[in-house]
Amino acid sequence: MSEKPKIGMYWCASCGGCEESVVDLAEGILDVVAAVDIVFWPVAMDFKRADIEAMPDGSIAATFINGAVRTSEQLEMVRLLRQKSAAVIAYGSCAQMGGIPGLANQKDREDILRYVYEESPTVENAAQIRPQRTHGVNGATATLPSFHGNVRTLDQVIPVEYYLPGCPPTPRLLAAAVQALLEGALPAAGSVLAPDTALCEECPRRDSKPEELHIDQFHRPHAVHIDAERCLLAQGVVCMGPATRGGCEAVCVQGNMPCTGCFGPTSRVKDQGAKMLSSLAANSAGEEDAAITGVLESIPDPLGTLYRYGLPASMLHRSLSDTNRSKEQST
């Protein structure tokens, strides 16, 4: 039993979908469980932090960590797991790029806390009570983790060997990664365990993508009847395919929905949102200011569209309007 490679699984700031994606392996999970020894998986098994602390450094063959890092507890845990693991795999969009929780980097910490605990329409909190990091109870002190100012990707706080992209990663990619791990056939450290080509390469609608696009109006998916055969960009629907890594088998496009970018960029792109912005703008219509802005206004939320999964991993990381530092004007 102890000869089998040890595997850990942990979640940070994420929705839980990555944890469930393990079950997407279906009966394949039985082969995985037979081949490895799961030593840590809080959502499913009863191992404690102390069990991990007692293990020798580097003794876990690989730990799959999903979720972005926002609290001091998450930071502590991923540092501990880093120390105990030979390889750390950033599992899913949030660990890789910040994910949906990373969109919180549009706001300052104080704005978030004020909204959540005081201003949200569903909150009744006349006394304006906020959670405190410490609280005395019966002579003892209870503590809460601190809530960081920024959402961070996993590799912004610890070194990461591999990335399994996706929201969540597909069973095929997970199975391939586990297989490679068991066979010692993993690629060079730093690799994303998915093809290094854009999604368009494997898109079933690829042949219907015109040579040149002149998009004169963008449509949100719910507001238009989408032709199930034609390239989505040719129909004016923002599809992140050109700036997004493939390997997902184009599941969203096959479901007649545009790619929203969860696999992140290929290795040749440093900033997925900026690259997609470049492509969208170049392929839209208009040669004069008014005509151009008219077309581009039909993309209501550029930031949330272009960086839906990757704001913390972007070149700017977060909104720069933090009030305590600069004279930037909020527009």
Binding site: L280, A282, I292, P302, S319, D322
Partner: protein, 178 residues
């Protein structure tokens, strides 16, 4: 590109730094003309020559900010004059969308500018750069490298997590108040 600032720390010594992407056929030639005509203009601009304003990837703009630029200026041929017929229209569309994105990111609009400057408009190079420097001087440093260091202070010094120590200290304080 080394964007280290020799006089960082002293606001009095701070001078805005602009990264300018000028197209080879019009604006770069205009900057050259401004030089040969011995026009005096603010020395705060680092000019990068590109073949066409349509070559300017929005990643270049963000990368300049990331490395410490306080402003980014794009210069290209007037509409209708592009050497490659429509590169400047692509640049203009990218500029409009990137402007909106930068506004959403809390970057003041004066920090990102696009100007059409033909090869004969050396004086416009001077006036645009002088004006942009004055605006940035007013706005103060963007200082993304400095901000990143500030943001990461919460991760603890030397990679050590001092948050636990912080909680312990606060806890001790709280208990002493009880």
């Amino acid at each position: 590109m080394n964007m280290q600032q020799p006089n960082s720390g002293e606001d009095a010594a701070w001078r805005p730094r602009i990264v300018a992407f000028f197209c080879n056929w019009c604006t770069y030639t205009a900057a050259d003309l401004a030089g040969v005509s011995r026009m005096k203009y603010a020395p705060n601009t680092r000019i990068v020559r590109v073949m066409c304003s349509g070559r300017i990837d929005p990643q270049f703009v963000l990368d300049a900010f990331r490395h410490g630029a306080d402003g980014v200026l794009i210069g290209g041929c007037h509409p209708g004059d592009c050497h490659y017929s429509e590169g400047n229209y692509k640049a203009l569309r990218r500029y409009h969308l990137l402007r909106r994105l930068l506004a959403d990111m809390g970057v003041a609009e004066q920090r990102f500018r696009l100007e059409w400057i033909s090869a004969s408009e050396g004086d416009k190079v001077k006036s645009v750069i002088d004006q942009m420097v004055a605006q940035l001087q007013e706005l103060g440093p963007l200082d993304l490298p400095g901000r990143r260091a500030d943001w990461d202070a919460e991760l603890g010094e030397n990679g050590e997590d001092d948050l636990t120590a912080g909680i312990a200290a606060e806890a001790a304080e709280e208990v002493s108040h009880v």
